[in-house]
């Protein structure tokens, strides 16, 4: 268990040394997380500390995506001071809180206890607050406080829900009722189903707030806008991963309690979010908000797929999003070098080889995120819609599923149109002005793009199907 915390702990220790030198070895330290993960593959479910922590295939997959993203963000952070104004103290603190953030999320991802899951999530939330603040503008300061307050409310709602769920099961299962695995295998023993469902509703709403679902969509976009771009990449690549694994685990239990309530609530809430987000996306004028709102869109899609029983599609979509979106956020450091609202010509003016690689990769990322083949998202959506149609055929949720598919297609087409418009503007409009790209960020986004394409390997498909 502690092997998995070694990498972030070393980053934390490293942040106390001369950051200008140490920052180059941070990606290597982050890569140490691969070692225990690699040796755990093929060993089935591994429990630690009386099964309070568990490394099953779902945790392995989410941890693997977060490790890749963590390494790439550590790489991209090497050139952070070239793009933004940051003093050495803030730079050090950024690494320090990045490490704490990663420790919190690793604890959450590996946790089999609802309580410990919450503790990890809270730790990550608090660490993020200071990472937002490293940008020393008044706007970032205000948004850091906003994140602190709203994040605290969201996390409190989750804890409130966890207490209710635990209270509903403890009389029958004892103290083990805090464990996801025990709850899932003993759902039939829970007699106070109303209390459980109420608890789940609170947990889901708390998680939806943290994922930026309606009505908190602008809140998340503002925070990502206010902070330095690696923070937004961390949000989309690692924080949302930890929230998602919680949502996956909680919803599997809620599914056994009352599937109709779960599917009705989650699908309608996600569709409402997609409705709002698609129109907001249509109006955005800067990259950060574009990617931020698109992140909310993908979280809603993953939720719908998972709840509809298309687990494989949800996991594939999740993995693809976890790689593609941080890459896009990292690229904003370069794309916005001419100013926040300079979308036109953002892909022009890269004359060097690494510049050309950068421009090509960003173009590919823009098209991948809207699910153009061969993006993994194209396949995940195909499988996801297939799963929804299968559910429509075999259950009494036909109307809901068909309605959801129709609305999803409608909202996705609006988003598709906007991204294509932005892509064309980036490539063909504006004036050509030479731009500088650094090696670290180019490697970072290329690795993330490559990782997304690895998801299409048959072995990965088989692995994901074994989770679902």
């Amino acid at each position: 268990m502690f092997n998995f915390l070694l990498a972030p702990v070393l980053i934390l220790v490293g942040s106390f040394f001369d950051i200008k030198k140490v920052k180059f070895i941070m990606p290597l330290l982050a890569a140490l997380m691969f070692v225990p993960l690699y040796f755990s593959f093929g060993k089935g479910d591994i429990g630690f500390f009386d099964n309070l922590f568990i490394l099953d295939n779902l945790a392995r997959y989410i941890l693997l995506t977060s490790v890749v993203v963590g390494i790439c963000i550590a790489l991209a952070m090497i050139s952070l001071d070239k793009h933004v104004k940051i003093d050495e103290k803030a730079y050090k603190n950024f690494y320090r809180f990045f490490a704490l953030f990663w420790i919190g999320l690793t604890v959450s991802i590996l946790s089999n206890s609802m309580g410990i899951y919450w503790i990890g999530l809270e730790m990550a939330t608090l660490s993020t607050v200071y990472m937002i603040k490293t940008n020393s503008t008044a706007f970032a300061h205000k948004e850091a406080w906003n994140y602190m307050i709203v994040g605290a409310i969201a996390i409190s709602l989750i804890l409130f829900g966890i207490i209710l769920i635990y209270a509903s099961a403890k009389p029958y299962l004892g103290e083990d009722a805090i464990k996801f695995s025990v709850l899932l295998s003993n759902v039939n023993f829970i007699k106070q189903r109303y209390m459980f469902e109420l608890g789940f509703a609170f947990v889901a709403v708390g998680m939806f707030v943290k994922m930026g679902f309606f009505p908190m969509n602008l809140w998340l976009a503002n925070i990502e806008r206010a902070s330095f771009y690696p923070v937004a990449a961390l949000f989309s690549g690692i924080l949302e991963s930890a929230i998602m694994i919680g949502f996956f685990r909680f919803s599997l239990i809620a599914k056994e309690i009352n599937y109709s309530h779960l599917i009705g609530f989650s699908v309608l809430y996600s569709l409402l979010t997609l409705f709002v987000v698609s129109f907001l996306l249509y109006r955005v004028k800067d990259f950060m908000r574009l990617f931020s709102l698109s992140g909310i869109e993908h979280m809603a899609i993953i939720s719908i797929f998972w709840i509809s029983g298309a687990h494989f599609a949800a996991l594939l979509h999740f993995g693809a999003h976890a790689f593609l979106k941080p890459a896009l956020f990292i690229s904003t450091g370069v794309l916005e070098s001419g100013g926040k609202y300079h979308i036109a010509g953002a892909l022009r003016g890269y004359v060097t080889l690494k510049g050309r690689i950068f421009a090509f990769t960003v173009g590919a990322l823009m098209l991948s995120i809207i699910s153009l083949p061969p993006s993994p998202m194209f396949f995940s959506e195909l499988y996801g819609f297939g799963g929804m149609i299968e559910l429509a055929k075999t259950s009494h949720h036909m109307l809901l599923m068909l309605g959801a598919i129709t609305l999803l297609l409608l909202f996705l087409s609006i988003i598709f149109y906007k991204f294509i418009e932005v892509y064309q503007s980036m490539k063909y409009e504006g004036i050509e002005k030479e731009k500088k790209v650094y090696l670290s960020e180019t490697i970072s986004i290329v690795v993330l793009m490559f990782s997304a394409m690895v998801l299409l390997l048959p072995q990965v498909f088989l692995f994901l199907k074994s989770i679902g």
Binding site: L52, N93, S113, G115, I116, W118, I119, E122, M123, L126, S127, V129, Y130, K133, A138, H141, K142, A144, W145, M148, I149, A152, I153, S156, L159, F160, I163, L164, Y166, A167, K170, P171, E175, I178, K191, Q192, Y194, M195, L198
Partner: protein
């Protein structure tokens, strides 16, 4: 005796909604935490639950004394505004508070139906959570918002000890750890020149 301290817990929270001075608000938070800690001690003693007694002791020390002291220290260090007039006028709050409490008892009826003991405490903890939210909403300044957040954490602690007869010890300690980390982050966030603008 437990009823008395739970009553005191709620009363302190209600009074804090009407407070217009920051240091008094910190005092009400300290008393709120102190009564909660003593209630946890007594419940733990009744249930012969040693982890809950330990949690009660930690609550008294940490939330009853250490956190209020740190908050007061920070308010002086950063010269926070002492006058914290709430946005909601006091006569309206007087109507709002009982309405929230009555509504909460009505709302929690289906939940507490299945519980053996401490039914009213569950309703009070949910009411306390709503009142803490009001405390966060009714102030523009950041300091009362932080106290609202800490009070909300107290409400959740009461829910934990009353609805579940205590969460597992490890979880409780983790929550305390997070609370300390929250204070560290709050300290880092405060900056003299920017506080008035938030």
């Amino acid at each position: 005796m437990i009823d008395f301290f739970i009553g005191l817990f709620l009363a302190n929270l209600i009074v804090s909604l009407f407070t217009t001075r920051l240091h008094m608000l910190i005092l009400w938070y300290a008393l709120n935490s102190l009564s909660l800690g003593i209630a946890a001690l007594l419940i733990g003693q009744n249930l012969q639950d040693n982890p809950m007694i330990l949690t009660g002791v930690v609550t008294i020390i940490l939330k009853g004394f250490v956190l209020p002291y740190i908050l007061k220290y920070l308010s002086k260090k950063f010269d926070l505004k002492r006058q914290i007039a709430p946005n909601i006028k006091i006569p309206y709050t007087i109507i709002l508070v009982p309405a929230v409490i009555v509504f909460t008892f009505y709302l929690s009826e289906p939940i507490i139906g299945g519980m053996g003991s401490h039914q009213n405490y569950v309703a009070i903890s949910i009411a306390a959570m709503f009142l803490s939210l009001i405390l966060m909403l009714e102030h523009k300044n950041i300091a009362p918002k932080i106290i609202g957040f800490l009070s909300m954490e107290n409400a959740l602690f009461l829910l934990g000890i009353s609805a579940t007869d205590g969460m597992p010890m490890l979880v409780e300690l983790g929550i305390f750890f997070d609370l300390l980390m929250a204070i560290v982050v709050i300290n880092l966030l405060f900056r003299k020149e920017e506080i008035q603008n938030v």
